[in-house]
């Protein structure tokens, strides 16, 4: 049987096959989960090299746990989201030396870069605005609005309650709106 990233075989089945030494499962899982881990890592960290490093670390943890994976206990993608976002918040904490829920100061140069970005690239503008959020808010917003996860899934990934997820996403969105609101006229959103 051949697997690829689009096959119907579940992540969990592939991981169990991987744990039994199946090389095809290794390739299929990498194609499926590597991009996911990288995408979230990059959105959390905003740095390609660091995101790659983190992706490698997260996947190595997954490979290590594979032989002991117990079917039905957790969703593989949720487990990976948790590892990636936890590793990312650790790195952000070390990088900034601030608490996870404290909003860092926005440097002037970042603010002006944000203005330039908004004029040319909405996606990049959002990334830049996301980078200004406290890590936990950013994590919740990325998982909810960019990865499309449900609040209970995010709660499982972040190991917090659903209400806390709602609070984090709500605060995160308010902060994002405040960062982007003044510039939307420039992007043609003023009359939506």
């Amino acid at each position: 049987m051949a697997f690829d990233a689009r096959d119907d075989v579940s992540d969990e089945t592939l991981l169990i096959l991987y744990g039994k030494g199946d090389g095809r499962a290794a390739r299929a899982l990498t194609l499926r989960l590597g991009p996911l881990a990288y995408r979230v890592a990059l959105r959390m960290l905003g740095d390609r090299a660091e995101a790659e490093d983190l992706t490698q670390e997260a996947l190595l943890r997954l490979w290590k746990i594979a032989p002991d994976w117990r079917r039905g206990e957790a969703k593989v993608s949720t487990w990976l989201y948790r590892v990636v976002t936890n590793l990312a918040t650790d790195r952000l904490r070390r990088r900034r030396g601030v608490g996870l829920d404290e909003a860092p100061e926005v440097p002037d140069e970042t603010a002006s870069a944000l203005e330039r970005m908004i004029e040319t690239d909405r996606a990049r503008a959002l990334d830049l605005a996301l980078a200004q959020l406290p890590a936990r808010q950013r994590q919740a917003v990325v998982l909810r609005h960019l990865e499309g996860m449900s609040n209970p899934e995010i709660a499982a990934a972040m190991e917090i309650g659903v209400e806390a997820v709602e609070s984090l996403t709500s605060r995160g969105k308010r902060a994002l709106a405040a960062l982007l609101r003044d510039r939307r006229e420039e992007l043609g959103y003023g009359h939506d």
Binding site: R27, R39, W63, L146
Partner: protein, 122 residues
Amino acid sequence: MAMTDKRTDDDRMLERFFAAARDAAPVPEPAFLTVLMNEAEAALPARPQRRAAGGRFTGWLALLGGWKAVGGLATAAVAGLWIGFAGVERLLPVTDSAAGLVEADAGSSFLADSDILVLAAQ
């Protein structure tokens, strides 16, 4: 602007940014995916050992204790077969003698006459 209107307006604006970001989701470089695949294969647990060369018979042999034990079993089986054919009453003088129940009769034999002839012919 009312608070609810403002929030709805912000939500609409944010959704456009989110949609743009989802459309432009970052993807890893192919070379990096290759690195990840190599690492996944390098970390692959060893497959469980296959049965030792020799197949099922060797496995059974090992289960029964090896060639020596199987040799002993075969001898016992042949002896049992012979006793079955020869009749247990022919064996009694030997076993009783060994147990000290009767005095061994030098002239008695636990072999049937026909068996003696066969042995003599060999």
